[in-house]
C-alpha cells in the first residue's frame, strides 16, 4: 500500500465519520422539520435538540477534515471537483451557514415568531446540505467530473444518479437519526416517543432502501465502472450492509409492535454498520480511482513528504481527538451536558 493509498483511506475514514455523525445530525434536523405544529412537535423536538446541542459542532468538523485532507493530499482532485460541481457545493455551503446559525440563534432569540423562523431555517437547511452533498457524491461516482476540472456546471449533476444519491443521503441521515433517537427516548424513559422514532426509522429505512435500489439501476446505466466493481469486489460489503439493514428492520418492527423493546446496544451498531459498509463498498468499487474514471489516487497525490504529514496528522488525531470525542459523547450520553 503506497502512502497515497493510505491517505485515500484516511480520506474515507473522514467521509465515513461525517456520513455517520454529520448525517445523523442532518437527520435530526429532518425530523424536527416534519414534527408538526408547535404543540404536537414539542416533545420530539425537545429530545432532538437535547441530543444535537452538545455534539453538532464536533460532528461538523469532520467536513473540514475531509476538505483539508482532499486539498492537501490530492490537490488536483479537489480542484477538479470544485471547478465542476461548484453549484451544488455552494448550495451545500449555504445550507451549512443557515443551519449552524439557525441552530445557534433558535434557543436564544426573543419572541416566538423569531424562534420559529430560526427553527425553520435550521430544519429546512438540514435538508439542503445532505441533498446537495449527495448530488456531489453521485456526480463523482457517475464519472461526470473531468480529471482536469472545469466540467459542465449543471449537466454534471442534474442527472438521475446524482439526484437519487442526494435523496438517498437525506433518507439515510433521517434513518440514522431516528435510530439514535430511539435510544435517547428510551434512556429518557419515554416509551411513546421510542415507538414514535422507531416508526420513523422504519419509514426512513424503507425510503433509503428504495432509493438505493433505484440507485443501483441508475448505477448500471450511468456508472458502469462502479456498478461492475460493486457487484464483484465490493459485493461482500454490500451483502454486509443488506444484512445489517435487515437486522435493523427486524428489531424496529418488533419495537413498533411493542413485542420487544429495541436495545440501542444492538440497534445503533447495526444501523451504523449498514451505512459504513455501503461507503466502503463504494470506496472499494472506485479504487484505484479517486475521481472515476479520470483521476487515479496516484495521479492526483501530493509529493511524498506532504502525504507523510497527512498520515502523521491523522495518527495524532487518532490519539488526541478520538479520546476527546469519546469523552464528549460519553458525557453527553450520561446527560452530564445540558443547556
Amino acid at each position: 500500500m503506497t502512502r497515497a493509498d493510505v491517505c485515500a483511506v484516511v480520506l474515507w475514514v473522514g467521509v465515513t465519520a461525517y456520513a455517520l455523525f454529520g448525517g445523523a445530525d442532518f437527520g435530526g434536523g429532518f425530523w424536527d422539520l416534519v414534527a408538526g405544529g408547535a404543540e404536537r412537535g414539542e416533545r420530539p423536538r425537545a429530545v432532538i435538540q437535547r441530543s444535537l446541542t452538545p455534539v453538532w459542532e464536533a460532528n461538523h468538523v469532520w467536513l473540514i477534515f475531509i476538505l483539508v485532507v482532499l486539498w492537501t493530499a490530492f490537490p488536483p482532485a479537489f480542484s477538479a471537483v470544485m471547478t465542476t460541481l461548484y453549484v451544488p457545493l455552494a448550495l451545500a455551503a449555504l445550507g451549512i451557514v443557515l443551519r449552524g446559525s439557525g441552530f445557534a440563534f433558535r434557543k436564544s432569540i426573543e419572541g416566538l415568531s423569531g424562534r420559529r423562523a430560526a427553527g425553520a431555517t435550521f430544519a429546512i437547511s438540514s435538508l439542503l446540505t445532505p441533498f446537495f452533498m449527495g448530488c456531489v457524491v453521485g456526480a463523482i461516482a457517475a464519472g461526470n467530473v473531468p480529471g482536469g476540472g472545469d466540467g459542465p456546471a449543471f449537466s454534471s449533476w442534474l442527472q438521475p444518479l446524482p439526484l437519487l444519491t442526494g435523496a438517498m443521503f437525506v433518507a439515510s441521515g433521517a434513518y440514522l437519526a431516528a435510530v439514535f433517537l430511539v435510544g435517547d427516548a428510551r434512556r429518557a424513559g419515554d416509551e411513546r416517543l421510542e415507538r414514535y422514532f422507531a416508526r420513523r426509522a422504519l419509514a426512513a429505512a424503507l425510503v433509503a432502501g428504495v432509493a438505493a435500489a433505484f440507485g443501483l439501476v441508475e448505477l448500471h446505466a450511468e456508472a458502469r465502472y462502479i456498478f461492475d466493481r460493486l457487484t464483484s469486489e465490493g459485493l461482500p460489503l454490500i451483502v454486509l450492509s443488506a444484512a445489517c439493514g435487515l437486522g435493523v428492520l427486524t428489531i424496529l418492527i418488533a419495537a413498533t409492535r411493542r413485542s420487544a423493546p429495541a436495545s440501542p446496544w444492538l440497534l445503533r451498531p447495526l444501523a451504523a454498520g449498514a451505512v459504513v459498509a455501503v461507503i466502503w463498498g463504494w470506496g472499494v468499487a472506485q479504487f484505484p480511482y479517486l475521481v472515476p474514471t479520470s483521476l487515479k489516487i496516484t495521479q492526483s497525490a501530493a509529493p511524498p513528504d506532504t502525504l507523510s504529514t497527512v498520515i502523521v496528522v491523522f495518527l495524532a488525531a487518532a490519539v488526541l481527538v478520538l479520546p476527546a470525542l469519546a469523552l464528549l459523547y460519553w458525557l453527553s450520553q450520561q446527560e452530564l451536558l445540558g443547556e
Binding site: P303, D305, A317, V321, E339
Partner: protein, 460 residues
Amino acid sequence: MLRLDPLPLAASASNLLAAREQMAFTLGFHIVLSCLGVALPATILVANYVGLRRDDSDAMELARRWSKAMAVTFAVGAVTGTVLSFEFGLLWPRFMDRFGAAFGIAFAIEGIFFFLEAIFLAIYIYGWKRLSGWAHFWSGVPMVLTGIGGAFAVVAANGWMNQPQGFTLDAAGKVVDTNPVQVIFNPASGYEVPHMILAAYMVVGFGVASIYAAGMLKGRRDRLHRLGLLIPLTIACIATPIQLFVGDTAARAVADHQPAKFAGMECIQESGPDQTEYIGGICTSSGVKGAIPLPGLDSFLVGFSKNTEVTGLNDIPADERPPANTFLHLSFDAMVGIGTALLALGAWLAFVWWRRRDIPKTPWFLRAVAVSGAGAVLALWAGWIVTEVGRQPWIVQGYMRTAEAVTPAHGIWFSFALVLVLYAAIGTIAILVLRGMSKRWREGAAGPDTPYAPSAEATP
C-alpha cells in the same frame, strides 16, 4: 436533459475582482469571530478561576454569561470558517491545484486544533450544570491551548503565502517535493503568528470591556460591571505593549522580505536613504500629498539609522506593484494609530491603578474604553488589508499571481451578492441575540436561554 452549460465563460478580470471582494468580505467577517474563538476562552477562564478561588459569585456569573455568548459566536464562527474552506476551492481552484500540497500542510494541523477546540468548548459550555467546579474549569483549559494552536496553524499558512518556502517545482511549475517543517516555520509565521494571537486578545479584551464600560456610562455601577470591565481590560492592556513591539518587528521584516508591500504601505516612490515617514495623506507618483512628514524617520524605523536604504516603488516592476497605495497607506496608519491610542489607554489605567487601586474616575475613561473595542476591530481589519492587499498582485509571493488562481466559473458576482445579504442578516441577528441575552440577564428574567443557568438541583 438540461443544457445550461454553454454560457459564455465570465470574463476572468471581472471574476478576479468579484472573487477578491467576496474573499475579503468573508474573511473580514470571520476574522472577528475567530478572535473570539482564540481569546474569549482565556478571558472566561480567568473569570471562572477568580470565581472558584475567591468564591466570587460575580466573577462566576460573568464566566457563565460569557460562555453563553461564546456558544453563539463560536457556532457562527464555525460555519463562516467552513465557508472559507469551500472558497479556497470555489474561488481559487488553480491556487489549490498547484500549491495545495504545500499550502495545505498547515491546515491539516489546524484541523486537529479546531477539532479539539470544538469538543472541549462543547464540554465547557454545556458542562456548567452537572460537572463539578474544578473539573469544569479544567475542561475549559484545552480551549485556550487549541485556540492558540489553531491560530498558529492558520496564520502560518498565510505567512507561507507571503514568504513561500519548503517546496520544489519542476519545469512545468508543479510542486514535486515538499518540506513540511519549512512550510510551517516560514519566516513570516515568526511575526505574523504572534501578531495575530495578540490581536485576538486585544479585540476580545477591549471588546468585552467596552460593553461593560457602556453599561457603566448608563449608570450601572455595580460590582459585576466593574469586574466585567477590569478582567478583559487588564488582559488587553497586557497584550498591547507586546503587540506594538511585535508589530514593529513585523514591519521591519516586511521591509526586508516584501519591499513592494512596504513601499506601498509607506508610499515610498524613490529608493534611497533618509526616507521620510508620512502620516496620513494621499499617495501619488510624485509624492505624498496632505501628509504630516517626519523626515528620516522611515529609514530610522527600518534600520535604526537615517542612512538606511529603503526600496521605493521605482525599483519594483510596474506589474508587481501593489494596488491602491493610498488605501494601503491609510490602513497601515490606522492600525498603528489605533494601536498607539490603545497603548495610551492602558498606560492611563495602569498609572491610576498604581496610585489609587481604582479605575480613573472621569467618564472620559469609560468613554474611551467604550470605543476601544470597535477601535481594536478596525485595527485588526486594517492590518489584514495591509497584509493581503499589500501582497497583490501575488497570491503566492513571487510564484503565482492572484489572477492566475481565480476560478473561471460564472456567477461569482451573484454569489458575492448573496453572501453580502446573508452575512448582513446573520451579523445583525447575532448582535440582536447577544443584546437580547444581555437584557434578560440584567432583568434577571427567565428567558428562553435560562435552561443553561445552574438550577437548584445542580448545586449538590
